[in-house]
Amino acid sequence: MFALTEPELHEALTLPSTLPTVEIVEAKATEYAQKAGFDEDTASQLSMVSREAAVNAVLHGNKKDPNKQVRATFSLTPEALTIQVADEGGGFDPSAIPDPLSPEGLLKPSGRGIFLMRAIMDEVHFRQLSPGAEITLVKHRNRD
């Protein structure tokens, strides 16, 4: 469906630490998932986990600080869709997040965002910035 000569699409957004930023990232992820040719279910899950990344950046990273920005980048190549969300907060340790599938984790009302990213995306990477944290979400394109 897509030729290898297809030009790469790339977009970078710098957004405030507010809840509308979450909606913007979700909408842009949906747009790119559709451009990538993912089926509706995959596109919906992909936009949802992008939303989770934005929620984490706005609420947990930047703590809605008006002096801090969220940077979201969307890159589409013939091989994959890559979405990166970075904040300017204190950073976080992904290994410290409790397992939401454990008996005590199942009934917790929060703590499923990172888990869903890992379950739905092909690759999830975390990088500490100074200051802040960056999450990279990668979904490979099926070229059957």
Binding site: D41, V55, P100, L101, K108, P109, S110
Partner: protein, 114 residues
């Protein structure tokens, strides 16, 4: 688009027809308020009809868990019905399908409260 809740009473069961998005913010607060109001009104048998829920995020999943816990703690029983493939997939991935009592349709769900 946020979430809407319509309330019906069928055979002693309070049915909450949810539609739209259960996400961080208004959507999840709407569900929380509806559960609180139903419990305050004395409902012990609560059925969530999620047929028209087209989107749910981790905050929304958390609200479903919160609803389950609130109803259980009040001595009641909460069930789900009419899960779309999208919602069911999320409950499978997160293993929440193991804690919720899920029914395929309303007659089965109502009968299961007896």
């Amino acid at each position: 688009m946020s979430m809407n809740v319509k309330i019906r009473h069928v055979g002693g069961v309070t049915v909450l027809d949810l539609s739209g998005r259960i996400t961080l913010g208004e959507g999840s607060i709407g569900l929380r308020d509806a559960i609180r109001d139903a419990l305050a009104a004395g409902s012990k048998k609560i059925l969530l009809n999620v047929a028209d829920v087209n989107y749910i995020d981790s905050a929304g999943l958390g609200e479903l868990v919160g609803a389950y816990t609130s109803v259980k703690n009040a001595g009641g029983d909460l069930k789900l019905m009419n899960l779309s493939k999208k919602v069911k997939d999320l409950l499978v991935i997160t293993k929440l399908l193991t804690i919720f009592d899920v029914k395929e349709n309303e007659p089965d769900a109502i009968a299961a409260f007896a």
